[in-house]
């Protein structure tokens, strides 16, 4: 029942969406945007930053749909808002090109290839895992994934400003996370992120107060 309702909802949404696309006189532009994003979604291996390069090539160098400095602004925004960078970038570019409809088309375009591919894989994954040599390969691959996560973390560490505050924050978060996990204490990562945001705001406020005091003292 639940499934039926959701399917109905999705179908209705898709119909409304397609109707919207076809009825607008901007449909050609939106179709083009959708297919560019579909292509980019299909060929980005290796996460958001690889996609930024493809987007730059497609929208700035080749088609000149965006200015270079606006593109740089877009990258900064996509990096500093929650969510996958490629989704953020696609939504932003879509909106700039064609408003809300454009952003929906661009986001759908960039997601559809990976959705279809992963969905197809997930259908066969269980039987695939049963094969003996595949299972053996996956035991090696599990270690490979640990190395990937570790190197992603180290890369983030390298790109960070190495102030005492930052290093202390990294160390403390790491230690807390590992200790909580070892003692089977549940403390959601969401809280770490919120605490980090509050600390950042607090540090900024303290700095601002100090500055304010100094200028007042000068007067």
């Amino acid at each position: 029942m639940c499934r039926y309702l959701i399917c109905c909802g999705v179908v209705r949404f898709l119909i409304a969406f397609l109707w919207g696309i076809w009825m607008k006189d901007r449909r050609k532009k939106i179709n083009k945007l959708f297919f560019i994003m579909l292509k980019i979604g299909l060929f980005t291996f290796g996460g958001g930053y690889a996609m930024i390069a493809l987007l730059e090539n497609e929208f700035v160098s080749k088609r000149r749909l965006m200015q270079a400095d606006e593109f740089a602004d877009m990258v900064a925004i996509a990096e500093s808002t929650p969510g996958p960078i490629s989704i953020n970038a696609a939504t932003y570019i879509g909106y700039r090109q064609n408003g809300v409809l454009g952003s929906a088309a661009a986001t759908a375009g960039v997601c559809i290839p990976s959705f279809v591919i992963i969905y197809l894989i997930s259908l066969f994954f269980d039987t695939f895992e049963q094969i003996q040599w595949v299972a053996a390969a996956f035991r090696g691959i599990q270690v490979g994934v640990v190395v990937l996560i570790l190197s992603a973390g180290l890369k983030m560490l390298r790109q960070m400003q190495k102030t005492i505050y930052n290093m202390a924050c990294v160390g403390l978060t790491m230690a807390c996370l590992i200790i909580c996990s070892l003692f089977a204490v549940t403390f959601s990562s969401v809280f770490y992120i919120l605490i980090g945001a509050m600390l950042g705001l607090g540090a900024y406020y303290v700095k601002w107060l100090c500055k304010h005091r100094k200028t007042e003292a000068k007067k």
Partner: protein, 189 residues
């Protein structure tokens, strides 16, 4: 009910995942383990598949987990959930707050978040290292070194650092996963 939980969980993951790619790996791990949707081993396999197919890891993980828990509708619901927050936030920024990212307060909060995310990613790597190579999940487990996994780990670390030293660019994930798969077949079969 499962649809509701999938949607809510991935909505949460989408809303607090800063820093792209592996930024949300610790949250995905916690949520998926606490709901009992996957075991740690399955999670690592899913990450490997998400990493070696095109598209953002978060979307791939959402589709994969949704599909494994509740079929095609589950995949749709989870993917929609993970996309929705970033879609809305970006729409808001693009439409109204074009200068929003330049406010000092926003930047201060982001400066606070960045080191925490780095710590979360490194901490998750540490936890996964302990559970795959030393078989330690809680403090009560005795250390049981899996020397084969240790060998794979050592070879991967050495080869990827050597590659990035000589070629001056990082070892990309797909050859790394292929290499680890081949070593898995050689060692475990």
């Amino acid at each position: 009910m499962i649809f509701f939980w999938l949607f809510l969980t991935f909505l949460k993951i989408g809303a607090v995942s800063f820093g792209g790619g592996y930024g949300m790996i610790s949250l995905i791990r916690e949520e998926v383990l606490s709901h009992g949707w996957l075991t740690e081993e399955q999670l690592l396999r899913f990450i490997a598949v998400s990493e070696s197919t095109p598209g953002p890891i978060a979307v791939n993980m959402a589709t994969f987990i949704g599909s494994s828990q509740a079929g095609s509708a589950g995949a749709l619901v989870a993917t929609f959930g993970v996309i929705l927050p970033s879609f809305l936030v970006i729409l808001l920024i693009a439409a109204f707050l074009k200068k929003g990212m330049k406010y000092a307060g926003v930047r201060a909060a982001l400066n606070g978040i960045r080191p925490v995310i780095t710590g979360l990613v490194l901490g998750t790597a540490g936890i996964l290292f302990l559970s795959t190579i030393a078989n330690v999940q809680t403090i009560h487990d005795s250390v049981l070194l899996d020397w084969k996994a240790g060998i794979v780990f050592a070879i991967l670390v050495v080869s990827s650092t050597a590659y990035s030293k000589f070629r001056r660019k990082p070892f990309s994930p797909i050859p790394l996963l292929l290499l680890s798969g081949i070593m898995g077949i050689l060692l475990y079969l």
